[in-house]
Symmetry: C2
Subunit: 405 residues, 2 copies
Amino acid sequence: MKLIVAKFGGTSVETIDRIKSVASRIKNEVNNGYNVIVVVSAMAGETNRLIKLVESLTNDYRTSEYDTVISSGEQVTSGLLAIALNDINIKAKSYQAWQIPITTDDNFSKANIENISKDKVNFELDNEYVIVVPGFQGTYKNRITTLGRGGSDTSAVAIAAAFKAGRCDIYTDVDGVYTADPRVVSNALKLKTITFEEMLELASQGAKVLQTRSVALAMNYNIKLQVLSSFEDKPGTFIIGERQKNMEKTIISGITYTSNEAKITLFNVNDKPGQAAMIFGALADKGINVDMIVQTSTKDGEATDITFTVLQSDLLNAADIIVKLKPEIGYNKMIEDSKVSKVSVVGSGMRTKPGIAKIMFKTLADNNINIQVISTSEIKISVLISSDYTELAVRTLHDEFQLSN
Amino acid sequence: MKLIVAKFGGTSVETIDRIKSVASRIKNEVNNGYNVIVVVSAMAGETNRLIKLVESLTNDYRTSEYDTVISSGEQVTSGLLAIALNDINIKAKSYQAWQIPITTDDNFSKANIENISKDKVNFELDNEYVIVVPGFQGTYKNRITTLGRGGSDTSAVAIAAAFKAGRCDIYTDVDGVYTADPRVVSNALKLKTITFEEMLELASQGAKVLQTRSVALAMNYNIKLQVLSSFEDKPGTFIIGERQKNMEKTIISGITYTSNEAKITLFNVNDKPGQAAMIFGALADKGINVDMIVQTSTKDGEATDITFTVLQSDLLNAADIIVKLKPEIGYNKMIEDSKVSKVSVVGSGMRTKPGIAKIMFKTLADNNINIQVISTSEIKISVLISSDYTELAVRTLHDEFQLSN
């Protein structure tokens, strides 16, 4: 019998009625002849409630005790969904990570899956049970671990890989991946397919449909992944390995943006070896991720300007660290700017079709949008612009690359 | 090192502040040189919230899925208390039932403990960890079980027995066991000691300090049990095996009452063998517990009246069953009365001091309180009276037996 893995996010199991609706969706799959492993998140809001309880006691997330508390939200949903399924005569059992077991390393609160045992679950599947697995959970040497925020997507993909599922459906509150945010670009189109690499760039560039890590995992194991809505009954977006021949024409798959970054510029930094290592090493030591970095080219021995971006939530800490390092860095002025957005053009076709960057930069220039920082990958070009122009940039780029056709 | 088990009920861990206060209490025990295993309930209100979720899906409590959902409340508290302890530099680890493991039979939602493994917990205790165990939980063949409402007391006593603890402290929202309900009898006294048997009678007669089952277990294993307040810092009531010689004078240890019973009387029941078995068998088959039973003595072959009590919550069901059996029973009239209370005098000294019943009945008669039903055990006399006279009966009996001295 063919196996599918279906994962439901927090809003999809937010209420008892929604859990019942998930159950009837699973019943359809069973009636269509599928074996099903369901992966569930905590009911929306529950994980935040639990984190708040822990945070009123400690700031230390890296313990099994943290994970013991936080993982209980998914445990509850898994039991409730199993009950809802049995209630409509679909045999179902919940399996917590320790019951399967799903073993991880000991990075509590952001553990990595190491192994998923198959015997017990396969035995139940052979007896036509639907298995309900709480996402986000793992176990390390008899302790409870969790996989980090959004880890339920990773659970689903890892389970799909371990049990060689024919498909992994990620049900969420949007109905697929769009060429741009439909709230910004009214004629944005839902993509029927998108490649793993494109999805990776979209995810890391702010399209909050799938956790980056789960996409990377699906790519490694070549899992047939589908993102679809749990509220509507229609196909979503399939995430695929490579575009088929007749689809080569798709050069750009989407325009995306993030507004949660802030820019720091240091003027007249002493130009000597090791400056960048010192600055970004100090930030990394405090757990601050730096995204884009630009350094003006200089002649040997002259001062240089360094610009970089961090998350807005890290801006104060980052500035603080830089100020303390001023004697060593030797800059004469620091400017912070949190009114910035990063706009990205993503498409695996970019690789074979040069000139995308030129079109992007010209389109922005034609609209008087100043580019502050540029960063590129093989299948993505990102620019930092003033946040005033975010919507304008996304819309005109969407038009220019004819993504509504 | 001497081991104590300390159990904290739902109100004792209701808020983060109270959890912190529990942690500092445990810290004192550790600083006094004790090894400690803490048993915790769910935060007050949490178990009811979880039960409500399940009840909106099913009425079937006898599944592991029910237990998976319901047991999560204790899991959360155990993690939070371990965090709170570590935060004040007391090494602590939570251990869920499956991690220890505490194995039970497969009576899901009201399982019985079969075995408690000691190796893992002893290893941690040897390394001076405080172990925090969620009460109420068990495990059966890789599934989650729970011990039934109030099962955390049972968990605590069973753990105290398994690890041969020197003492088992049950922290709750009252500061001990009283000679009568202090809300009814203003000069009720807190007992320094009470015997297991007395406590058993008190618990089953409505003194809601300890779950009956946990008292029976403590009696079997002769656990030194103490009931005390988690909000005040003073000794509670010790529950002991046998009274010491110099305490023999304590004949009566307390007056207790329940108001949740209802009375059913059947008039002119055909007097033939098997009538009682038929009536009470039919009730038992539907899970209805009958408490007191009185049958008027009859001459052979004459009709008789039968009176019995059930929980008020079972009254409608019970009456329904009786009505359906009317042809077989052959009574001519049924009267139901839920305005009744059961008042009991409890004391192990009763055994060796006859005449207690006489004093009790005379006291009630002197106050014009009519006795409807009487039931007795070796150390207890219970009477059913109109609920209008509950407080009066408790107060005058408390005075008559001089329990304030």
